[in-house]
């Protein structure tokens, strides 16, 4: 008797386990996705990672939306907007929108969000995204004005990207940490559960307003953090994942040969570069010498990196910004052809005939970092290689303790040069160049309303930065999206995974 009840229990468990394994797929209308990096906080103002951007676009909405295909600005939470003067933008808000917790969306939410994030002491992670706003003012229930600190022509672009609207009552109470654990927005997907850094479960917002993002098709989205790409692929093979992205080129090539998967390659705005401590913030480093920085630039074979390692839609980049961004003038950039002999000669002229040893930091794409390290070794720059988590490296970077780092920046998919070049060269905590001339040009370029003036000064800044070789810009990234054939998805060129436009085949 006892034996048989035990047997039943085991059988029951087995059935539950089997159904658990089968739970979540097309039949259950649940899309299972993997993130590679641990997301520090779901609150989109308090993380600076790509995973955060993906969740931000799903959970929240901005006032404006930029169509990724046509680059046309459309009203999202705002129905229309106009410049009252150079420093004031007025928005008519969409009526009848509610947040996931039932709170109605109105001017108070915009005012609270803007005033909160614009205040520097509230510590928004990427100040560049918000520090151009001074304050917001309620005109009536559905009209709001945003006041700018200074002229900022990229305002519309930023409002359609990283600036999303939070519910005032809930955010006042929950704050960034509460918002990170139980996010509430107006977006196409609402959050069912968050296990910080590990597991995010989203559910379709059945009452999503008539947004240019479109209506979500797939009911549930289940996102897990799986740091190892092999594990991700193994789960894709075994059918417990439906979609993985940021798949390295080598693996994507192999997966493309298999019939049951669809591999799509799309370019991204992410630029990979070497940042050198030209200002000598980390102490007495060789990188304060222009010739050393030029030598680094000459030592790297960018064409080979792109052709052999990055592949896909990647391109060699010479600018400290992504070439499609407004103001990112490619012709302005000094180029450094691959010439190890010249690099050695420059090092010798700089007083390092036998090279030197430096720390090289990196946080992603270990393989690329190793290839870069090999190029540097070949001209005599020996390195002490340090591979850190992104947030740890960023902290070190802010305190100026990094002589040489392989970094990347995706500009939050903002299609304006200010999102990258101004992020790093305006004497902020991440600026290792600290060039006054660049600062002066960027001040003008960021705030001028006349497009030609902007281009002129971005051109000057880019020319100066590349002539001084503060960075060694190298390549743009591409992303491989791999999904089972059941998933229908056309990726966009901005590295944002849009669950709203996915559907089952």
């Amino acid at each position: 008797m006892k034996q048989s009840s035990l047997r039943h229990a085991i059988a029951g468990l087995a059935i539950v386990a089997a159904s658990g394994a089968a739970y979540a797929d097309k039949a259950n209308d649940t899309l299972r996705v993997a993130f590679t990096k641990e997301l520090e906080n779901v609150d989109s103002y308090f993380n600076s990672s790509r995973e955060g951007v993906v969740l931000q676009r799903a959970i929240w909405d901005g006032l404006i939306y930029r169509d990724p295909a046509t680059n046309e600005y459309k009203g999202n939470l705002a129905t229309s907007w106009e410049w009252i003067d150079d420093l004031t933008l007025e928005f008519k808000l969409r009526e009848g929108v509610t947040f996931h917790n039932g709170e109605p969306f109105n001017a108070d939410d915009v005012v609270y969000t803007v005033n909160f994030v614009a205040k520097e002491e509230n510590g928004v992670k990427t100040q560049r995204n918000v520090n151009w706003m001074k304050s917001a003012e309620k005109i009536d229930e559905y009209t709001v004005r945003i006041h700018l600190k200074d002229k900022f022509p990229a305002a519309i672009e930023f409002l359609s990207g990283p600036v999303s609207m939070y519910p005032n009552e809930y955010y006042a109470e929950a704050g960034p940490s509460g918002m990170g654990l139980e996010p509430v927005g107006t977006g196409p997907y609402k959050v069912v559960s968050v296990t910080p850094g590990q597991h995010f479960v989203l559910e379709r917002n059945e009452t999503y307003h008539d947004s240019p993002k479109g209506q979500p098709e797939i009911t549930n989205v289940d996102i897990r953090t799986i740091p190892d790409v092999n594990t991700q692929m193994a789960e894709l093979f075994s059918g417990s994942l439906d979609l993985i992205w940021q798949v390295p080129a080598d693996q994507a090539e192999k997966l493309a040969e298999m019939d049951q998967f669809t591999v799509t390659n799309e370019s991204t705005m992410r630029v990979g570069y070497l940042s050198m401590d030209a200002a000598g913030r980390s102490g007495d480093t060789p990188f304060t010498n222009l010739k050393v920085r030029q030598a680094v630039n000459h030592a790297i074979n960018r064409e080979e990196l792109v052709a052999a390692l990055l592949k896909g839609k990647s391109k060699v980049v010479w600018t400290p910004c992504f070439p499609s961004q407004f103001g990112c003038v490619e012709e302005a950039a000094e180029t450094y052809e691959y010439d190890p002999e010249k690099a050695k000669a420059l090092l010798a002229e700089a007083g390092y005939p036998d090279g030197f040893t430096t720390e090289l930091y990196a946080y992603r794409d270990r393989e690329y970092a190793e290839a870069i390290l090999s190029y540097l070794n070949a001209v005599g720059i020996k390195s002490d290689f340090k591979f850190l988590q992104y947030s740890a490296l960023r902290e070190l970077n802010m305190t100026g303790d990094v002589p040489l780092a392989f970094l990347t920046w995706g500009s939050f998919s903002v299609n304006d040069a200010s999102a990258m070049v101004s992020q790093f060269f305006k004497h902020g905590s991440l600026d290792d160049a600290r060039d006054d001339q660049v600062l002066a040009d960027l001040e003008v370029a960021d705030s001028a309303t006349d497009p030609d003036t902007r281009v002129e000064h971005y051109t000057k800044a880019i020319k100066r930065i590349t002539e001084q070789a503060y960075w060694a810009p190298m390549f743009s990234y591409n992303t491989n999206y791999v999904s089972t054939n059941e998933v229908e998805y056309t990726p966009t060129a901005d590295e944002v995974l849009r669950f709203t436009t996915m559907e089952w085949k």
């Binding site: 693996q251 192999k254 080979e304 990196l305 052999a308 270990r366 393989e367 070794n377 290689f385």
Partner: protein
């Protein structure tokens, strides 16, 4: 008197083979020991003569010829074991990697051997308070998980060959201390030790010429075990990215670098893994064999 006739069977039986001859016979007759020694000698020679043997520069990167398969999977003889993810010759990196592994094994075992033996013999010989202190230290050391402590120390100091060698050397002395203490306790009561004391030999002399030779067989076994242990730990640390740093060729690092392509190019993990396995197996076979042939009376 005439010289004894060596052909005489009776005489031969009385004189018999010398202890040296008997030892040699046991060594040659012990299969595991012979295999271990031969493999180890070959690997050591490879490590020493790496610059002469390696067909390519192990650091020479060639991105255009990445991940070429080894000969037995359809590659060509230019790169007999293929190339890695940066187009570096796999065979050359394996050969240079032998240097790293053996160097770490030998030096780490040496450092920990000196520390552990000194402590163990002192504890066993003097007993009393010395023994108490040493036993306490051994217990403290045993309470610390080696891998975790090594990870933490390397994470703080930064990974490099020197750091890994020193950290492992300072962590792996416990078994030396335990075994040497027990062996010393066994032999210190023997008649020859008492005899040496009785004729007025100094303490260092008693330890060095009476005790040490009689516990050396145990020491050798522990040395081999700890060598293998250190080599595996280095591979583990390097695999985790905290050991030897790229571009230094290390087998653990090679496994780690090949891991990304494990599903499609398993040979990238299998080759360094297999070599690591062979080296550690050879060392262990040699250790077991040495114990068998040097202390046969303990076995029967």
């Amino acid at each position: 008197m005439t010289q004894p006739d060596t052909q005489d069977p009776i005489l031969a039986e009385i004189t018999g083979p010398t202890p040296g001859q008997m030892l040699r016979k046991r060594v040659v007759g012990h299969q595991g020991l012979m295999i271990g020694v031969v493999v180890l000698v070959i690997l050591t020679l490879i490590a020493i003569f790496a610059p002469l043997l390696a067909p390519h520069d192990p650091y020479a990167q060639s991105l255009m010829t990445r991940m070429e398969p080894p000969v037995f999977l359809g590659g060509d003889w230019e790169h007999p074991l293929g190339t890695d993810h940066l187009g570096r010759d796999y065979l050359s990196r394996l050969i240079y990697g032998a240097r790293v592994s053996l160097m770490i094994g030998v030096i780490a075992a040496l450092i920990s051997g000196v520390i552990g033996t000194a402590m163990g013999v002192a504890a066993g010989y003097f007993g009393g308070r010395v023994d108490m202190v040493v036993t306490f230290l051994i217990n403290v050391r045993l309470a610390m998980p080696v891998v975790l402590v090594a990870l933490a120390v390397v994470a703080i100091l930064g990974g490099s060959l020197q750091v890994v060698i020193v950290v492992l050397g300072l962590l792996l002395w416990d078994r030396f201390a335990v075994v040497m203490r027990a062996s010393t306790l066994q032999v210190r009561g023997r008649e020859y030790v008492a005899a040496a004391r009785a004729i007025g030999a100094s303490t260092p002399r008693v330890i060095l010429s009476e005790i040490m030779p009689n516990i050396a067989n145990n020491l050798i076994v522990v040395v081999t075990l700890e060598m293998a242990h250190a080599i595996l730990l280095e591979a583990a640390l390097s695999f985790l990215g905290l050991g030897v740093q790229p571009p230094t060729p290390s087998w653990g690092l090679m496994v780690s670098e090949g891991k990304n392509m494990m599903l499609f190019e398993p040979w990238m993990v299998l080759i360094p893994g297999a070599v690591l396995f062979i080296l550690v197996l050879a060392i262990n076979l040699m250790g077991d064999g040495l114990r068998d042939v040097t202390a046969p009376e303990n076995r029967s």
